[in-house]
Amino acid sequence: MTDTLDRAPAPEEQAPRPGPVSRLLGHQLLWPVVAIVVMLVIDVIAVPSFLDLRVQDGHLYGNPVDIVRNSAPVMLVALGMTLVIATRGIDLSVGAVAAIAAAVACTRIVESADEGAASAAILACTTALAACVLLGVWNGFLVSVVGIQPIIATLVLMVAGRGLAMLVTDGQITTPSNDAFSGLATGFVLGLPIAFLIALGMVVLTAVLTRRTALGMLIEAVGINPDASRLAGVRARTITWTVYVFAAVCAGMAGLIIAANTNSVNANSLGLWIELDAILAVVIGGTALTGGRFSLAGTVVGALLISTLVRTIPSIGIPSEANYLFKAFVVILVCLLQSPRARAALRVRGRRAASSKAVAA
């Protein structure tokens, strides 16, 4: 055993509580929110009518509505990803899972006796989500029971998943015609898009589940220190397993919304790279990839930021496909802001602590 020095608390951490202004300035969501506002301002400068809302048939239309509606799939996937990442995991298979869910739902609808009936859509979606539960159980099994690193374990389904989706659709681009189903993406309730309401509903449900029960605390404990959690009697395995199932269900819902939006499923391209967008949203929201403390609000903001970005790019005259370029810069920027080493490089005094930590690690 080497004698370990207990690092003393840094003086500023014992300082009295900061005032409201400095609390706001120090809040982790400040910069993402500022970024969204800045983008919206740029949009308004480029297209003065950008923020205009119209009411048509009792529904809201306009760019802001599109932004929140289009953020729904990423928000859902990112929601599940947040909990997975909080347990020190990662789920690369969510895009494939989304494709499988969409494939199952669309195929079931097309095959049902009455293709247009709402009951067919409900049954199909339920079947699809049940399939997602199975896929989540599979991922969770590999991670928590077999003990394979999450990135590797979920890679298996990421590779095979689209093949499975094509197996379901028989390689065809399946196009169901079912109003109830397409309503998932295009419908409105109380003037708001259903897709967004679903995502928001899931966020609220998750928030209640994690913060009103002890689940959130236990997830964070497992993510911060798995060994200590196990010794404190936390059922780390069950918790880890559960979050992978949850992530798969969230991904499945996202897949359904995407398929409903286009009324079709292409197993090869549906939800392509959505895992990356989701991880990006989580990271923007301030949940560290190293696990531990997570922020659901942050994830919501992250998803909205991505959606705003995607909408902003064409509005200022750049081809919309270039959004990948911007995402790349966002990834790097966010990581730089979060990287202890990059931050330490900015502070001279912090240098030693960082370098010694790097060696000790």
Binding site: G163, M166, A361
Partner: protein, 334 residues
């Protein structure tokens, strides 16, 4: 304690004691798998047992071989590179666009290789100096390369440069009436060079050391920084080279080329017996891994009844088997 007398080792002693077989076991397993699959194909399908089938296997997968070589470096060092598929697309696009603009094909190819290497170096810097997780840093690379590709052109650009097309179609006749192309030669040469670098150079051995235990490698005074940035630079270079081979194969530049090819490359490396956690594996294994993937595809094209998606499922299953076996092996050791 009396000093044990060690007799001067004979050559036989060295042959006998050097490198226990367990290190090669995964590669041997992959080789056996490949032979078995090829043999099975030969029994099941008419005309499968032809050297030309094997040569086509190399030809159709030459770019993947090169990608897998670069990926092997990265994975051996304990990292991962998600950007290679996008870099392939970017490379085909740069090649097509510059040649369309009338650049010399050589200048164009040199540019491609330079851009790929630079992108890789950039990711390596993010990983090592800024402590960003490899998969996030290369995710940025994935987005960046794909975004640049779209920025150059949304549509497919055909490559019509005469020299380039000539190179694409030039075939090398082998004894026995078989033929192959330069892409295969380049791919195999890459494997040979990489194998030498990994086995016999200080850089290569340091790659293994970093993958085995980075903190130790640092304390041993090895040049960890050079290696960690270097492997991503190599992977970027290989992705660019693979992109050129892909351009030779498809004679076009397109922003939707090579979507998900990074997964194939990773799968090939893992199936080739390289430990995803780093430190163990061989380039030859990755070559065999690619051949196994290619054989699955060949099966499916020989067997009219199977659909193409079975390829992905089969790759997934193989990946699973190797990953689980690796896990059980490392668990037993620790």
């Amino acid at each position: 304690m009396s000093a044990t007398t060690v007799p001067n080792p004979t050559t036989w002693d060295r042959v006998r004691t050097y490198s226990p077989a367990s290190r090669y076991l995964p590669v041997v397993a992959t080789f056996a798998l490949f032979i078995g699959m090829f043999g099975f194909g030969g029994i099941s399908y008419q005309g499968f047992f032809d050297w030309q089938v094997f040569l086509s296997l190399l030809l159709d997968n030459s770019f993947l071989i090169v990608l897998a070589v670069g990926m092997t470096f990265v994975i051996l060092s304990g990292g991962i590179d998600l950007s290679v598929g996008s870099v392939v697309a970017l490379s085909t696009m740069i090649a097509a666009k510059t040649m369309e603009m009338g650049w010399s094909p050589y200048l164009s190819m040199a540019t491609v290789l330079l851009v790929g290497t630079l992108l890789g170096t950039l990711m390596g810097v993010l990983v090592h100096y800024l402590d960003i997780e490899p998969f996030i840093a290369t995710l940025a690379g994935l987005f960046l390369a794909r975004g640049l590709t779209y920025l150059i052109s949304k549509n497919s650009i055909p490559i019509t440069d005469e020299t380039f097309v000539e190179l694409a179609f030039a075939s090398i006749t082998l004894p026995g009436g078989y033929y192959t192309t330069w892409t295969v030669v380049i791919a195999l040469a890459t494997v040979v060079v990489a194998a030498y670098v990994l086995a016999r150079t200080r850089f290569g051995r340091t790659v293994y050391a970093v993958g085995g235990n980075e903190a130790s490698a640092m304390l041993m005074g090895l040049r960890v920084a050079v290696v960690k940035v270097g492997v991503y630079a190599i992977s970027g270079f290989c992705a660019a080279l693979g992109g050129l081979l892909f351009a030779l194969y498809t004679l076009s530049g397109y922003s939707l080329h090579a979507v998900g090819m990074e997964l194939d490359a990773i799968a090939a490396v893992v199936i080739g017996g390289t430990l995803l956690t780093g430190g163990r594996g061989f380039v030859v294994g990755s070559l065999l891994g690619v051949l196994v993937l290619g054989t699955i595809q060949t099966f499916i094209s020989f067997d009219g009844t199977l659909n193409s998606w079975w390829t992905r499922i089969a790759i997934g299953v193989l990946l699973l088997v190797f990953v689980v076996v690796q896990r059980l092996m490392t668990r037993r050791q620790s």
